[in-house]
Point group: D3
Chain length 244, copies 6
């Protein structure tokens, strides 16, 4: 089985660390292919960049010309998965949804700890659209920008853990979700620091994608995600424009 | 005052009819500028095309280099307004939100009559995200594609009115909303046929945009729609790419 | 166009300041008529007074015998608009609803700052009934009674701003709504003090009423607001009783 | 114990039948006093009349000068109970709320069968405001006006039963609520015809009022229903005006 | 009338104090029979014990071989009432539901003060399932275990009152609910300490059970609580097993 | 890895078919152990039997004395998982929750097709408690009892497919969930008949349990599912009683 794990930003090193996290949890026989968009921001921290990412991810997947079995969109709280689901046949799993689904199985309420305060509304809306907001106790910001997550790991961990502890004490969280693709690999440390099960979205998405593929389940084509109707689309896909 | 009214699809004739509808209701002294994206589909009827439209509209507005006071996004149930709000200083009004807000003032419950069944979920989600879903009785599909709206107007009106009447009788609607930018101008006929006040989104959005401008109200820059953080964005904006 | 702006309490000076605020934002050609009920309390700060106001406003409008195009009910969180909508042909806009509708267009979440704590439930319920509660982050009380709003403006502004800042920092508000007709005219100062767009209900209602009139939209008579059935009503209207 | 049972309309014969229903279920030692407002409509079937009733009931209770232990407001889905709660010390029970509370104890979902379609929104809103809407499967209209309920009882029963059966079959109702004070006494017949427990609001309210009095429980004066603040109220109460 | 009041735990002294509280509020002519399960924990403070209680209570009621008119399940936030409703003909009233229903009649919002933090989710879920969560401002834990409630009453009262005061000041509660069968009898003291009406679940349930019986209302057998279908059930009821 | 798959009823043949379904989807290296309770009904079709199942499943798991890595509770819409989560260290996955979680990933809305109408409320409540009800379009009953599912497979399939098609056409379902453990193995046929992805709960639960185990994720012990407090529990566990 081959799973495309697509970063939402254009920072190659982040694609690599995301792919590494994916490989660490993939089943034997699952090949992980990390992809970086050709267009977009080096970090996605708001709606403008998130909409660019929606198109950047879609464009990047369409440019990939080998067969594959599932796609993981590796951005937390970002736009775009509905477009992928419409265009593709294979299952598409967003890391936000994936983390929330597993978190629901593990406790009464979960909280998300993300990067900047401005990302909180995007995540709240994504959880609502994904149908998994009911058990969300809170979405909290660590105050760290996406690219700062690659800095001193002690500082990063302290900022995340601080909010995680508050989520447990003040918001009633029993499970934690790491709310950024760039936090991949920190779950064990946060779990140890807080005593609460901690879900990493990339890892969760890979296991859910594998599960769907193993069960032969694909995105429904009944209505919302039926293939686009045939029509004229100008100046698309972008990777062809870029090659001119 | 100058208001940019941006079509979400790339069909120029539709831009023109939308702009005409806008001009028909604009106050004396309001200039309406109709804009068509450089990229995207000739009609938007699903998530793939809607995400393209989000970027196409944003790109088109950024390419406009005269001053303006407000932007109307003239697509029903489409993605993208949050990106515009982040990037721009002036008010941004989506025709979906605008129609729903006015409809709430006119009766206990309103229904939307749109084009295809597959557009229903996008509209339901947009109303929810806009905070105006509580009084929505139903979103109904006429079965007409966007471009079919430019066909025989008797057929078009009959299909819309049929669903409008059902919304009133079966769903408890007391107010109707025309759920497609391409339905601009049909409101009077639907109102006459059903006896219920009928809101056209383009008209509603123009009046709301004028109201905000007159009251000196702009999009909040406090958190969600603060300007994007400075960062590297590659291959953007698209209109520069296209000019190469 | 003539708009009746009806105060909910019997304090004439407050009617005048509300009408002045309405005139300040009205379009050229819009005539504002301020009305004061013949019955009721000099300030409305609870359910007893609010129900009196519902009848007092209705009675006062029925006593007005010139033509008019719309009615604005200038009380925040008060009862009564449904009765007006039933009895009248022209649009009726409540300042609570109006402010909330515009606030939804300007940011992710809005908060209301009102007078006394006991008014909070009335406002919460009115927002819920108006279908605009979803994006309300909080309703906060400044602790000032309605008539205290006419006192030292520095003190008044400080009390309102204090709660507005908390709404932004603690509740996630991005837009502010001034939650009392008696706060008309303070919006600019609160906006300056907080950096957040601040909506005054009277101003918002006047622009929405003008918009509805310009678009030819009236209250639906389909079901809820159909004219009252013919029947015997004793000792009504009150202004005739008072003239005996 | 003395309970005031206040009709919301000005039809004396209806007050009498409501009081008779109340007496039929009252405990030994409970005295029922039926009251009719001095102002208002002979039947309440919409918002205008309901707001008049709110004031009419309040005024009538204030005119009653003997001691009493509780008040039952005998109108289904009407405005006004919040004003009574503010002004009075003793418990106030609305028949809408009372019926819904008991219905929740008896099955998974309940439906209300009321008079005219235009009354449905008022009832839906009252159940929501009362905090008892979650288990409401539907509010259905029999098509009978309030005063028609005093007509041929076979016709009346057939119309109510028809909707009750649909509520069970189509909406999932397991319990029925008779949605009009004028239906008092029909509960046994509807129960027999449908096989579902059927709650009459007047009966329910009397038992709940007795329960509260027996337990020494009164309306909270902590915030919302604290006594009105001292202030100038002109031309109130109405019964004094009428005596001039 | 005979009402069975069934304790959820196996501590006889608690059964007695619950029955005493029930008797204190019962009408003349109502006989209260206190029952203790043959199986289960000496205090119920979590899901494991609550599920045991569900079966323990059911088994205990089935072992009771005299006639009775209603059953009160005297555990706060516990599982099981749906099973009783299915198996029995007579009304079944849970003390959680009962307290919440009466609390809704007395103020805008109520809060529950219970024992341990781990009981909070069970109570929140029970209120949601009972359809009475909408007006719940908060469920707060006093930190006292169930059996600690029988200790020094000054300490107990102080711990409960502390949370009750916070519920009023911080959560907007206007009415209090004592969230444990073991708190029976403390309502007067909490009311005096806080100034807010305070509802005891056992007392509330007894009055509601009496009301239902007096009105001739029984659990609906229409769907959810229809009698169990005839089938093979092995090793049940437990009291027969225990007698072997 | 060893997963216990526990049937909720006492019909051994159903345990075997459930275990067979589990084995069919389990990863290489996953051992499936099917368990049947010692107490309870031969089919679970209501609350009484479901509460018995809650205790029967718990008792059966406690009687299993080999090591294991996860537990699957194989009953649709049944009580009990919260008790298992409290008592056990390993992950517990209920088939209702599991199916709903996967269904959310595959389309905009899903519907459940279950056995009898009386099971519908139990499933609705379980989905709500599991935090996965938001995207549920409907729960529909095929009219077949649990044990009838082992009858003529053409009849069974026709009854299920009939409701599945209605769910798609009338309720907006895009994904189907088979709402009974006894429907294990019918997913492929329903998918073929309807064109919609069809999720079997047992299969879904096995893959989710494997995923959690592979990711090292266990039930949170932070609050709700902390181990029961040490206390006296009489006549428990049942399997010891039965051995007497």
């Amino acid at each position: 089985m081959r799973i495309l794990v697509v970063n939402v930003n254009t920072t190659e090193s982040m694609t690599e660390s995301i792919a590494a996290q994916a490989r660490a949890v993939a089943a034997p026989g699952t090949e992980i292919v990390g992809l970086t968009p050709f267009i977009g921001a080096d970090s996605v921290e708001g709606n403008f960049e998130s909409y660019l990412a929606a198109i950047g991810v879609l464009d990047r997947v369409l440019a990939y010309d080998e067969p594959y079995d599932a796609v993981v969109q590796a951005g937390f709280g970002e736009h775009g998965q509905e477009g992928l689901k419409e265009v593709l046949e294979v299952p598409v799993v967003d890391i936000t949804d994936a983390a929330a689904h597993l978190a629901c199985l593990l406790g009464y309420r979960y909280s998300v700890v993300t990067t900047l305060d401005r990302a909180v509304p995007l995540i709240e809306e994504r959880l609502m659209l994904g149908g998994v907001a009911d058990h969300c106790a809170s979405v909290r910001a660590s105050g760290l920008g996406v690219l700062e997550l690659e800095g001193d790991q002690d500082v990063v961990l302290a900022a995340i853990t601080d909010q995680a502890v508050r989520a447990i004490k003040e918001d009633g969280a029993e499970v934690l979700v790491l709310g950024c693709g760039g936090m991949a690999g920190l779950d064990a440390a946060v779990r140890e620091a807080t005593g609460a099960p901690t879900v990493d979205g990339v890892a969760a998405a890979v296991k859910l994608a594998e599960s769907l593929v193993n069960l032969g389940l694909k995105t429904s084509k009944v209505r919302t995600y039926a293939p686009p109707r045939p029509k004229t689309v100008v100046n698309w896909p972008l990777h062809r424009l870029l090659q001119r």
